[in-house]
Amino acid sequence: MTITVLKPGMLASVQDLGRFGRRELGICPGGALDTLGLALANRLVGNEDGAAGLELTLGNCELRFEADTRIALAGDDFGARLDGQPLWPLWSVPVRAGQRLRLAGVNASPHKAGLRTWLAVAGGIDLAPVLGSRSTDLKAGFGGLQGRALKKGDVLPVGPSRLGEAQQRRRPFGVRGPEWDEDLCEGEAPPGFITLRTTPGPECGHFSEAMRRRFHTALWRVTPQSNRMGSRLDGPALARQREGDMLSSAVIPGTVQVPPSGLPIVLMGDAQTTGGYPRIAVVIRADLWKLAQAPLGAQLRLAEVDAATALAAWAAQKRYLASVHQGLAAMGWPGAA
């Protein structure tokens, strides 16, 4: 079984849940920016959470499936159609050999402005893992398909499906997305605004009380200069209390750095492993999927919470995943490790 890339869109790459244990050597974790979304899509097609899928950017993409299979999308669907039939995020859908999946442009998105889509296919993208992961490290040029973004004409191998023949053909079904789970989006702002919860970073003391208040109360806009390394935000610039160089120190996905411009950058999976700008805050793990999906131009609020809240939010996300798993298991779907 293979998938042929007819049109990759702005940036398409092979990603799994990331490459771990190598940060000490300068190797970033990478991986799907929305690991929750990829894990959900994988479960919907009978895969293990860590199977490799595709991360697609800003729609405008077309793929052909060369054999019967089953697929699921997470994130924004960009008006996705399978041979003309609409396809929604977090639906598990049977695919016949030769069918084409087409994602339209931004205007076709039901939200009018999406950013990324994750595609899981039964069996997962079956490329050789490099340093323990199939994720593409675009900056260093390894992993995934030849260490690069996908191009028109690429043919991607798909591994053996864990679904039985009848399961593979089963009619479409969907699960409730995390955005509908009250525990996961507690205190969510009205539509159009995305609240990311943060805990104070190691250098939050480099900023005055007033500046920290500004950071937490302002509406920050996600700029088009954002990429897989980080989301660059625009809003009221933050002035530092202390000047001077910082020594290299670890950064992880979710770290909010404030460079000399005063405009924060929220780092993501492809960011380098160490940085030298003050870390004012860190987005909690349970909210990273919201950042990964936040469209360009989206308005963010960066709320402050304590560590206990961060851990409770993570537990809520695990409960949500477990409830999805339970529902799938009741249908006889293969267990997701």
Binding site: E24, P202, S248, I252, T274, W314
Partner: protein, 228 residues
């Protein structure tokens, strides 16, 4: 644990701060010294044995532990680090690997050699001689896979970064950036002054380990050729 029992210097005060809910930063007050960094590596080596610690990442004068908060409470981990810290001797100097790195200095391999000579007031061949005579230590890897932040550059060789960074520094270029020297493992944008190039691969994702250098390594540059 390796040696270091003769060290009678008290351990400098360690400041701990969470980096999100699943990482703990331990940092020392400035200045960054090799002695302090050796203690950092020793702490990293010990912490890697703790099953709930998933990764250790040394920075300059600091260490970050990535841990699973479902397996260990952050406060408990902090206590463990703080109680271990005064007990730790620095990593033994003799235990470090010595990595020799041949370099073709100057010419097309080191297009900024003459700029460094002009800035330092030294003849170009003297810049090469002093650079290759240095005894360097890898403090940490970061920026790119296999990119080593090294200490030990002779102070008189320090040269500011280029005012206009290059958009594509060739892979394996040896450069000077401020008071540091380093090698670009991959083609990358960069502002360091390029004085030479090594034929060695700094990063090979198919190899195990994938990087030539590791934190704690001692590095010597060997002048393979010099073009003035």
């Amino acid at each position: 644990m390796t040696g270091g029992r003769a060290v009678a210097v008290p351990a400098p005060h360690l400041r701990l701060h969470p980096l999100g809910e699943a990482a703990l930063l331990a940092e020392l007050p400035p200045p960054a010294t090799l002695g302090a960094q050796r203690r950092i590596w020793a702490l990293a080596r010990e912490a890697r044995r703790w099953p709930e610690v998933q990764e250790t990442l040394p920075g300059m004068n600091n260490l970050t532990l990535l841990f699973d908060p479902e397996q260990v409470d952050a406060g408990e981990l902090e206590l463990r680090v703080l109680s271990l810290w005064p007990e730790l001797a620095g990593e033994d100097e003799g235990a470090a690997r010595v990595v020799e790195i041949p370099v073709d200095y100057g010419g097309e391999h080191g297009p900024d050699l003459h700029d460094v000579a002009r800035h330092t007031g030294l003849p170009a061949d003297e810049v090469v001689r002093r650079h290759a005579a240095g005894d360097y230590v890898v403090y940490l890897l970061g920026f790119l896979p296999g990119f080593a932040f090294m200490g030990g550059l002779a102070p008189e060789l320090a040269t500011p970064r280029r005012s206009e960074p290059r958009t594509a520094v060739p892979a394996r270029s040896v450069g000077i950036g401020g008071a540091q020297t380093g090698i670009y493992p991959l083609v990358s944008p960069g502002g360091w002054q390029l004085i030479g190039r090594t034929p060695l691969e700094l990063f090979d994702p198919a190899a195990e380990p994938p990087t030539l250098l590791r934190p704690g390594d001692r590095v010597r540059f060997l002048a393979r050729s010099v073009e003035l």
